[in-house]
Amino acid sequence: MADETQTEDSASTENKHDRIETLEQQVETLLKRDAEHRQTQEEMAAQITTLEQANQQKDEDGQKLEERVEELEFEGEAAAMEGAEDESSEMERKFSIWGFMDLTLAKFWYNEKSPYTLYLPEQSFFTMTNINLYFFSRMTQTLSAIVEIRFSFLPQGSDVEYGYAQLPDSAYERYDSRVVEPFTSMWMNQGGITIERAHLTYEPVDWLNFIVGRYITPYGIWNIDHGSTVVIPARIPYMQIREMMVLSQTGVQVYGRFFPSRRLFIDYAMTLSNGRGPAEATVDLDENKAVGLRLRMYAKGKKIKAQLGGYAYYGTYTNRSKVLDMSFNSDMTLDQDADNPVTVENRNSGSYSEFIVTADLLIEAFGFRLQSEYIHRYAWYQTKEMMGEQAQVFAGGRPSPLDTFYWPNWIGDAMYCLLAYKLPLDPWIAPVRIRPYFSFEYNVVEDTREWINLTGYVFGLNVEPSPFVTIKAEGAKVIPHDDIMGEDMWTAALQIAVSF
């Protein structure tokens, strides 16, 4: 029994040893596998790191490629713009045409048979008086040219001559420019054109620029900027209608702008021209050139803009007539033996000098626009000029060659003041703008011709349904300074102005 127990104990111990050995082997195997797994993981981590680095490098390479593509695009566009010495001027080079026109329905109320009938229709009428086209070319960054043409249906239908009750042989004559078209025999109305301006402009720097040609006199507010959609009332101020200042000149102009501070401009202009004359657009009938000087200060704040300016002008108006003097023999042939068988005298038929000074003010703030201009003109004759028949009548004379009336020296003073207000209705009706306005005018155009002087009160409403269209409804009371014109006159006008 004891042997059997010893044998059983030995066997059990041996089994335990075997099991331990087996377990140890298993553990060893597991440890080996664990070590292998760790090694595999490390290898995988290293691979992942390598791949991440490779991706990062690719991203960087990709970005560099994108940048390079963009650089090439830049260079490509730059290359496409090569060839012009000054790419800026090449970009801006252009030719453009634009313009404005208006249609007006007007009615005047004045005394029957008043002298106003000479100038203003008694019946209501539609009329188109402004059909302006601009032709503009910018040749280089500093060089441009502009031509402004005003087309008109006149002179068709205009008065040529009046009849005079005291002169039975006199007859009224109206200009008839109708012609027959030869192919259809259709009657065609011929109109006319006025060349408002035609000049070359050279603008090298802000402070020194040049205009050469026919230019608009740089004075006032609505002389240069005279588009129908720009001018607030239906007609320009009376002082401008009566040309108290020369509206356009043929010659040269030097102008520029200075910036004394960031919110202040100072503009200047100097003009040299033929001045005023019966043919001044094309020829000066005297050696005296007209000179002018313009100064304007312009200040702009965040909500308020203001400008104050003036223009002074001195010139001479001369009218000449050409008279041929020929020497004849008794048989009415030309006397070739005479020293000067044909002479031409350039006879001065009237000349005066004039000094004109103007001032203008414009303030825009909070929707209000306050605008005012003043002109003072003094004219004195060197060679007296005879009045025409119509002028003699109004001067109290008779239209007879036996009576001779000469124009006297004169002084003119005129001003207007306009107030307009853009109604604050943008939240409801934008882009439509509505602007009521009121203007007062006092005009002594010539103190020696009272019948052309008047005072005016103008009131109206502008409606701008778009930047291109302005509709104006206006009324005015005109008080003549001379009783010869009759009682006060009332006017009404409805105008639609369009720029295109």
């Binding site: 566009e77 790419e87 970009m91 801006e92 404005f100 802000d206 240069i224 960031r262 930047p467």
Partner: protein
């Protein structure tokens, strides 16, 4: 003074590298883009360049630099056209590219679209 932080939507007023000024005031910027000033202080003609009409960039510039809505800006240029025959500054799709090449030019770009070394910054209009 509290430091202002840069925003990607800031408008950078950029000019050609050779433009003879390094700084511009907001008022000067306005006079340039309204064509009331045509020459740089140091000489040379100014070529103002706009973004395309109707783009957000153009609207933002009109609001921040000119204090105008797009409609007010259009009104202004229509008025200038009739008065003086002046057009708005020319338009480019990519204003930064235009400034890069055009001598004397000035334009604007969002900060997020700006690239270094292709133009100089004269002014920053913050949102």
């Amino acid at each position: 003074m509290e430091a202002q932080t840069d925003s990607p939507d800031d408008l950078l007023i950029v000019a050609h590298i050779l433009v003879p000024v390094d700084r511009l005031s907001p008022v000067e910027l306005e006079t340039i883009f309204l064509k009331q000033r045509g020459s740089w202080r140091g000489g040379g003609k100014i070529v103002a360049i706009n973004a395309k009409k109707g783009t957000e960039l153009r609207k933002q510039f009109a609001r921040r630099a000119l204090d105008m809505t797009p409609e007010e800006e259009q009104d202004f240029w229509e008025d200038q056209k009739v008065r003086k025959g002046i057009d708005a500054p020319p338009e480019f799709t990519n204003t930064l590219k235009a400034v890069f090449k055009l001598r004397g030019s000035i334009s604007y770009v969002r900060r997020r679209d700006y690239r270094e070394n292709v133009s100089k910054i004269l002014l920053v209009l913050r949102k």
